[in-house]
């Protein structure tokens, strides 16, 4: 297995400070992953088995999407379900048959919630039986707020998917080597995991192709029926920082080798990601330095806006480390990186790159706060007065009213931010509040409340 070294082995460099607070922070419920996953996996249907609370969240969080005949629905639990007066099996069967009849999906995802956890509904036990009876694959993911935050919902779904072999998968080990052709260098099969929009999939695939690396498959694929063939000994690499369960599943259950790389966010991250993959395959990279420089050249205007400015991540979507690293490289000073959950192994290479970037920029490594406490953070924000706070919508307007620029963190999850091409998108988002407020400066004072 190719695992990155432990972070604290790097004795020559300054150590990263990790802290853990109370976990009283605002984030989206992980069931929100259905919002982008049902669009990504075109022949899927997501059934969220939960209460009105879950439904209300989805309805409000996903706003307008709800009216476009989404391929997801709530299986809303009623009092009879909670008190076990109704049979879970019969109830789920009735709903799934209805979904099958109305929408004819290739797969139904059951999203377990807090309620199914508490009442210990045996979704994993029911699914195989029901699957056989209605002859439709059922994938169970427990994306609940008891255990996970926001984007980790995708992790639970992909981990569940990773356990299911493609129906076409044969017993033998498959081709262990991608044959070299004119376009590709000979190397073991590589499967990438993480849900990103199709254009970005194409962009990253092409970046690798330029280096002669062939991508054998993506998890998830555009359609459930096109799940990649994954064999023992295949190499896998993640594109998102919140996919540690998926990585673990691929290593332990599917016996794949994980390439621990920084994530392809920002031109620096993308280059490091490509280089790491090539290094593992023993491929000499071509023209990456020029490519990265080209991109930085394009970002010049945006970099000039944020150079020397400070930023504070309150933490809610696990993209924080990668974004902070990219922003430091762009010249920003990061005061604090809040993050819901920190997998130091899976994010090891990313943490190393963060260290390296800080050293290169000659700034101290920001403190990383796991399970932050929003109340304390607001106190610190008041003291530090950062130029920009990246935060959830619950705090954005109140902070703006107090004269503090904010960027709504969820937008980073829904925007296209991966690869060389989309680096500009990230800075577009980060600089938007600064650009907007520059234009409004003449209205009146910056503060719109007297209270605290």
């Amino acid at each position: 297995m190719t695992l990155t070294k432990q972070v604290d082995n790097t004795d020559s460099q300054e150590k990263i400070n990790f802290e853990c607070e109370t976990g009283n922070y605002h984030t989206f419920c992980p069931i929100s992953c259905v919002a982008w996953l049902y669009q990504k996996i075109e022949d899927s249907f997501f059934l969220v088995i939960g209460t009105k609370t879950c439904g209300y969240f989805l309805q409000n969080a996903l706003g307008v999407m709800i009216f476009a005949e989404p391929r997801y629905a709530m299986a809303e639990l009623e009092e009879g379900d909670i008190s076990a007066q109704l049979s879970d099996y019969e109830e789920l069967k009735r709903l799934c048959l209805q979904v099958k009849r109305d929408r004819n999906p290739s797969v139904i995802f059951w999203i377990g919630t807090c309620t199914t956890e508490i009442i210990k509904m045996d979704l994993e036990g029911i699914a195989p039986k029901l699957e056989a009876e209605i002859s439709l694959p059922i994938v169970v993911a427990r994306a609940n707020g008891l255990d996970y935050a926001f984007t980790q919902g995708e992790d639970t779904v992909l981990a569940a998917l990773a356990q299911r072999p493609n129906p076409k998968q044969t017993e033998d080990l498959g081709e262990l080597i991608t044959k070299s052709t004119d376009e590709y260098i000979e190397h073991p099969p590589l499967i990438l995991f993480g849900s990103i929009p199709d254009p970005v999939v194409n962009q990253l695939t092409l970046e690798l192709k330029k280096q002669g690396v062939k991508v054998s498959g993506w998890l998830p694929s555009k359609r459930y029926t096109e799940l990649p063939l994954i064999y023992e000994g295949n190499y896998v690499c993640g594109v998102n920082p919140y996919l540690s369960r998926t990585a673990t599943t691929l290593m332990r259950r599917r016996k794949c080798k994980l390439i621990g790389a920084p994530f392809p966010i920002g031109p620096d991250g993308t280059r490091a990601w490509l280089e790491k993959i090539c290094t593992v395959f023993g491929i000499q990279t071509q023209g990456l330095q020029e490519r990265e420089e080209q991109i930085w050249e394009k970002l010049k205007y945006y970099v000039s806006l944020i150079d020397g400015k400070s930023v504070f991540f309150m933490g809610d979507n696990l993209l924080e480390i990668s974004l902070a690293r990219f922003l430091i490289k762009s010249g920003m000073i990061v005061f604090e990186i809040g993050i819901p959950y920190m997998d130091k192994r899976y994010q090891g290479a990313e943490l190393q790159l963060l260290q390296k970037t800080c050293k290169e920029k000659q700034i101290p490594i920001p403190i990383i706060i796991e399970k932050p406490d929003n109340y304390n953070q607001v106190d610190r924000i008041r003291d530090m007065k950062p130029d920009l706070v990246i935060t959830g919508m619950a705090h954005a307007n109140p902070l703006e009213a107090r004269g503090i620029n904010t960027k709504w963190s969820v937008e980073f999850t829904f925007a296209q931010i991966h690869g060389f091409t989309n680096a500009i998108e990230v800075l577009e988002l980060v600089t938007r509040p600064l650009r907007r407020n520059q234009k409004l400066e003449k209205i009146s004072s910056e503060r719109y409340t007297d209270m605290r």
């Binding site: 088995i49 609370t53 439904g55 997801y72 807090c114």
Partner: protein, 510 residues
């Protein structure tokens, strides 16, 4: 289990949070898993609040599941007590705490020993009540708590104010056009020389709740939230209340007459008839508007109405009684309020629909094909799909239903706003008339690329007379009529369009 992807009313805890966070200096602590504090986002986003929402979560995680909340809830309550120094902390159960069945009351009792703040456990059950019922109950609970507290400490003063005065019960956040309604009600009361004793809960302090009995009477403008409190105050202090929603000129007059009746019962000898008359005829434009020629075109038009019981009932009354519009069906998602709704609008529409199933409502709209829909955001989207105009009259709502400009639905200015909303929702007047004459609303088919290519091939000509006639048609419908006529001519294999062809096309389209 129920298959659903949209709901009209939210879960119970949202109702409790709406009440708690409407009060000044009240903090709500949710006993909930990570991510359930979505309420803060809604409040900060929809109402664009400048202050942090006074709602935090005592997070239920895997540890809590295994060992129970133990000290966690108590610690969170005392912590908020220290940090924010609230007057009251409301511990709010969610669907999760409903099934965990922890003894939350015990936590409240223990916490209140060491806090400066009062501590209450919201008496709501996720599986029994919805957002509105929970809000109604929470408001009653808080009022009751502070009245009893004042009684115990002998601080309750039940003597009435010298001047006639009123409590307005039902001002709260995330409600439909609420702050504008409140401004309008205040203006109405000031016109009638009635002092406002208090408005609860928005912006009110719980310490002042003990002064509620000083008012001469209560007004509950929306029946979803506030009735329980009004009934409690009636039972306890014999305070009369008015639950007539002053929405539309007729109901506003009814409401004012009820106020007059109550004041006269208390020997204050007032007569508001002249005020009603002047307001109706001159201040509000909507009564005159209903009689104006333009509004004749609305007569007998088919409409459907759906929303919460307050707004759906009031809207049905306005459409039928004040505008002469034919309400094919009226409905509400407040199922628990069925009998009241039926009583109120039974005579005013052909059919009543009580459901919280948005699919059923969508199907019913498609079946009836009304000229206009008045409903919630959901109906607006159904309307868009069916290409029917729609006016939003009730929650659930989106950010665009929290307008910055003054848009009350209540009182005389509210009547003006509603008249505009109704009128602008129809395809009307000249446009409608001309479309009738020259046929057809359907432009989708004739706009298709294939057809216009065909028209060019056929090279259809307009003769001089028909050309002249075409130029007389106002610009905004000319294109439609031209294309419609050409389509007809093409189908009939005619090469030249004459006046005759134009009228024939109109007939064919009718």
């Amino acid at each position: 289990m129920k298959l659903a992807y949209w709901m009209y009313a939210g879960p119970a805890h949202i109702g409790t949070l709406r009440i708690a966070s409407s009060f000044k200096n009240v903090h709500a602590i949710m006993h909930a898993p990570l991510g359930d504090d979505y309420f803060n986002v809604m409040r900060s986003m929809l109402e664009r609040k400048r202050d942090f929402t006074a709602v935090t979560a005592s997070v239920v995680d895997r540890h809590v599941l295994a060992r129970g909340s133990q000290e966690k809830v108590v610690n969170n309550i005392s912590r908020k007590d220290r940090e924010e120094k609230p007057d009251l902390v409301v511990l709010t159960p969610t669907c999760t705490s409903s099934i965990l069945q922890e003894d939350l009351q015990n936590f409240v009792n223990r916490a209140s020993l060491e806090t400066q703040a009062d501590v209450l456990l919201a008496d709501v059950n996720h599986y029994r009540v919805n957002e509105m019922q929970a809000a109604d109950r929470t408001l009653e609970q808080i009022v009751q708590f502070y009245i009893k507290k004042a009684q115990k400490t002998n601080q309750l003063d039940t003597s009435k104010t010298v001047e006639p005065s009123v409590n307005i019960i039902g001002s709260f956040n995330l409600a439909f056009h609420n702050q504008h309604d409140m401004a309008e009600l205040k203006r109405l009361m000031s016109d009638l020389n009635i002092k406002i004793n208090s408005i609860i809960p928005e912006g009110a302090s719980v310490q002042d709740l003990k002064d509620l009995p000083k008012a001469w009477f209560n007004i509950v403008p929306y029946r979803e939230i506030g009735l329980l409190t009004a009934e409690y105050l009636k039972k306890e202090f014999d305070m009369p209340y008015i639950d007539t929603t002053p929405m539309g000129v007729v109901e506003t007059a009814n409401c004012i007459r009820k106020i007059q009746y109550i004041l006269n019962e208390k020997n204050s000898n007032v007569n508001f008839e002249k005020y009603i008359d002047i307001q109706t005829r001159f201040v509000s434009q909507s009564a005159w508007f209903s009689r104006s020629i333009d509004c004749q075109n609305l007569t007998g038009k088919k409409a459907v109405v759906f929303g919460d019981s307050t707004h759906a009932a009031a809207m049905t009354k306005i459409l039928t009684r004040e505008m002469g519009i034919n309400v094919v069906w009226a409905g509400t998602y407040c199922k628990y309020d069925k009998s009241w709704f039926e009583k109120e609008v039974g005579d005013l529409c052909d059919e009543i629909v009580i459901t919280d199933d948005h699919n059923l409502i969508g199907d019913l709209i498609a079946k009836v094909e009304p000229a206009v829909i008045f409903g919630t955001q959901m109906e607006r989207h159904v309307a868009k799909r069916l290409n029917i105009p729609c006016g939003v009259i009730s929650a659930p709502v989106h950010i665009q239903n929290f307008p910055l400009s003054y848009r009350p639905f209540l009182g005389y200015e509210g009547a003006n706003q509603i008249a505009d909303l109704i009128y602008n929702s129809f395809t009307l007047g000249m446009e409608d008339h001309l479309l009738e004459i020259f046929g057809g609303h359907d432009t989708k088919e004739i706009l298709s690329a294939g057809l216009s290519a065909g028209v060019e091939d056929l090279d259809i000509k307009w003769d001089l007379e028909s050309q002249a006639e075409l130029t007389k048609i106002p610009g905004f419908v000319r294109g439609k009529i031209k294309r419609n006529t050409e389509k007809f001519a093409q189908q009939q294999k005619m090469e030249t369009i004459t006046l005759e062809v134009m009228y024939a096309a109109k007939e064919a389209a009718a």
